[in-house]
Amino acid sequence: MTDASQSVSRRAVLQMLAAASFAASDRARAAPSLNIYSWPNYFSGNDLAGFARQSGIVPNISNYDSNDILFSKLNSASGAGFDIVIPSSSWIAVLRQHGLLQEIDPARINLSTLAPALLGRPYDPENRYSIPKDWGVLGVVYDPAAVGGEISTWRDFLDASERPGVSGKVRLSSSAWEVIGIALWLQGKDWNAVDADAIRAAGDVLRPFMKHVSSFDALDPNELANGTIVMAQSNQSVARTALMLNPKLHWVVPKPMSEIWVDCYAIARNAPHVDAAYEFLSYQLRPDVQLQETVAIGFPAALAGLRDKVEPGVAHFDMIFGGKNLDIGKLTSFVVNPKTIGVYLQTQLELQAAAD
């Protein structure tokens, strides 16, 4: 082997390395990508695989476990790089006001298959920034033997909490507005329109009941099944699981008013892969995909007429939709208002402190 051949060989190797790195960087530039920031386990694996087959894009999914963390992330430098985010209805207005979402181009998506009751809601009246993904309602799951009958109103809920077999076994939500909403709804007030004094007054109404509360923590269906908790504020999905574990439990969305929350697709400001984001949204809004998402996630997708499309053989079928004959159009969605959210939270902390 001569020096010349060694020299050629070295050059060849360098050339190959350079070509390989160029190719790699070129591929990286060309490879479509999509960054999703979402709640944990919030997409069907089959649907993600189907989207990857169709588009060649395997989404990168990061998780958060509360809307406030989503807001904090998007509101900081570390929030750059996300394309699709899934905020709840309560936080969409705040995210929009802080310029953290970009306007959705209605020409690039088809909303005609979605339930009208979930479109044009107060947090985004023209759906310029959000597309409903799925929804849930606030209700009460309870043991009728312990509470001594049926619950149909929030007044029944408060009265039942004082019973000997119920006191100390009541779970309230960790969400300030879901707890304080009980008193506001009983007073016929709109939780989005009240001022600080009304929120504090609602807290005063609830304070005497706090001694009966055992938890403001996330609801574990097993606690309902084994009797640690006998009456709890809950969404329909956790309640449905509890009913599967203990068929004696009952579920109700109490009158005169309760909450519907809607988790929505939104596109983050400065999303780096806007085309991929629209491709993903179009895929996710396909009726067959929404049907699969409902079965996989356990919360109903926003598809119009979904109830008729899900196979009725599914256990506690009606619970997926919040119960029989529930008119979701009559329920209210909370909208975080920077002027009052601090009062809601302080009142909730006072209630939690009073529960000890």
Binding site: N222, E223, L345
Partner: protein, 283 residues
């Protein structure tokens, strides 16, 4: 050559200094600056106002601060009461027995903190192994329902911080020269007299260190009260977290964090002063 070695030593010393500066001093200064600002929901208008401190030291927040200090002090004291006999026992062992005891004490640290607290949550829940044993041994007639109670939070705190309390006491106890105890025995002191007049006073610096190492993290503890206390009877860690995240009120959250840091500073000074007094007494 000598100058090069000097430069290398300065470089090595500079690394932790830069590290401390970036991850400790800078965030601390940011918190202090934030605490004097005005909230704009998820943002801050910088300036100088004491309103956040007034709010943090009034009404509910002051009551929670007082409750947090009392709870942390009680949990830390309980930790020491449990840790001292354990440390004393280990200091009395030698060879593989001592090593085995230390490994057993530190073993839980090989698993995630969250997993350990979640395990306690399962243990305290109804119809679990603890309930079953207590009922079988006739110590209880029904379910204890410990979960979501202050007792569960206290037990969780003691469990989580016990190794931290045990090790400093052990280190001081094992360094007490056996000759001192032998001398007191030769002078006619009983076992309890030897312990109360020689061993315990000499171990006090370790006790003070353990108290400090447990009470400081307990003051800001967030996970244990949330998972074992069910969100009832809130402590300061939860309130600071809710101000930063849910309320997006960074200035108020920062002022509460600064107040906690000042309390920690006072505790540090107190332990330093106590340490010096104890050292002087021993000499």
């Amino acid at each position: 050559m000598h100058r090069q070695r000097h430069a290398f030593i300065h470089f090595c010393a500079g690394i932790p200094l830069v590290w401390l500066g970036v991850v400790f001093i800078v965030p601390l200064l940011i918190s202090v600056v934030f605490s004097f600002g005005t909230n704009t929901f998820g943002g801050i208008t910088f300036g100088f106002t004491l309103d956040n401190y007034r709010t943090a030291l009034s009404g509910l927040y002051l009551a929670v601060l007082a409750r947090t200090i009392a709870f942390a002090a009680g949990a830390s004291f309980t930790c020491l009461v449990v840790a001292y006999p354990v440390a004393y026992f280990i200091a009395g062992r030698t060879g593989w027995q001592r090593t085995l005891c230390l490994v057993l004490i530190l073993l839980p640290y090989f698993s995630s903190f969250l997993i350990r607290v979640m395990s306690l949550q399962i243990l305290f829940s109804r119809d679990n192994i603890l309930d079953a044993w207590l009922q079988r041994l006739h110590f209880a007639t029904g379910p204890l329902d410990l979960i979501n109670t202050p007792v569960a939070v206290l037990v969780g705190m003691v469990y989580a911080y016990l190794p931290i309390a045990t090790v400093p006491i052990f280190l001081v106890l094992e360094r007490i020269p056996p000759a001192l105890r032998d001398a007191s025995r030769d002078l006619g002191a009983s076992y309890w007299q030897r312990f109360l007049t020689v061993t315990f006073p000499l171990s006090l610096p370790g006790v003070v260190t353990s108290a400090l190492l447990t009470i400081v993290p307990m003051l800001g503890e967030l996970v244990i009260p949330q998972l074992l206390g069910g969100g009832r009877g809130v402590l300061m860690g939860q309130i600071i977290s809710s101000q930063y995240l849910q309320a997006q009120n960074y200035p108020l959250g920062a002022s509460m964090a600064v107040i906690l840091m000042l309390i920690v500073g006072v505790l540090l000074h107190l332990s330093w002063w106590l340490g010096r007094r104890l050292e002087g007494r021993v000499r």
